[in-house]
Subunit: 186 residues, 2 copies
Amino acid sequence: MEAAVERAMDVFWSRGYHGTALPDLLQATKLSRGSLYAAFGDKHSLFLRALDRYIADALARMEFEFDPLKDPIDGLRTYLTGYVERTSGANGRRGCLLVATAMELAGQDAEVGRRVAGFFRAMESRVADALARAKAVGKLADGVEPTSAAKILVCFVEGLRVTGKTAPARTSSQATADALLDRFVR
Amino acid sequence: MEAAVERAMDVFWSRGYHGTALPDLLQATKLSRGSLYAAFGDKHSLFLRALDRYIADALARMEFEFDPLKDPIDGLRTYLTGYVERTSGANGRRGCLLVATAMELAGQDAEVGRRVAGFFRAMESRVADALARAKAVGKLADGVEPTSAAKILVCFVEGLRVTGKTAPARTSSQATADALLDRFVR
DNA sequence: CTATATCTGGACTGATTGGTCTTGAAAGGA
DNA sequence: TCCTTTCAAGACCAATCAGTCCAGATATAG
């Protein structure tokens, strides 16, 4: 059941909502038409399940990266490096279900809009928290405000996901991310 | 004719490629089915025309903002303010045809992929050029490398277009953009 | 072995997709 | 006035869309 959601997520991920047809989902989930509708209701509901799964994965990752027991600067570094990895080469071309969904549906689909907005808020607050902890131990450059810098970093990584669709080289993106973080840390 | 492309662009802009159906385009362009196919061939070709138009508009805007005769820092400020305006409130919710297209099609449609990649390259080089001119007159902060900072700024504004789908307040986005630029200028 | 419950593959629905073609009205030139 | 060209309106096409339904195979339970 949960495996079916994951496989459906993969399909939506690489084809978008309007771009995936029922047969694609049937083939990926290995469910019959009847079973799929019995289990998930309709295409839209299944999509929401897949999106929730995607968001949960991302939140779990951040929970690990921004663990309060670890050094916040290290956390920010691995957070950025993770995005660099996901937005380079073939990974980059694959794109991001959340960003694609934001662009495709967030403006017209309220259920989707709430989820997307909530995710961006959650990411921003986690990054801001890490920055605040870094500032508390004097590791931030002068004049860097955690909440403002967090907004910058969130926009930056989501922008990486966009430019990543053209499959840039990992080394280049990594250097860019490093250059940005260097503007914030002491 | 060119007006029809513009109206078609508006439709693709707010509904995406797969999300717009022929009747939507007929209504928007006020063309009959036969005329539209005679003029543009098919949906995909019309979409390419619309995308090219969108890109041309953006390039023209940058040509103005980054006019070599003007102060490059002023140019960067108005460039960023323009994106803030376009990614706030209702404008933000409307989104960006280029970013939406990048996420929806760039990975699978080679014609689209080339255009998207070319646009990002063009924007990056224009921003880098402005930064280089600013650096030449000593207006950049220590250690800021124009090409690297340009990549950061491009990712940032494209990320703004993504987070903008949740319709944030203009003042907040403006403060964020200002905070980022302040990290680069002296 | 029988009864029940579950699930599959696929037929089927009405609506909609992108695209073609025909008909007839309007317009323009000679 | 007459001939040609242009174009709008919409009928029409095969394919595909999301979603429903059912007959039959399979499995489980008693």
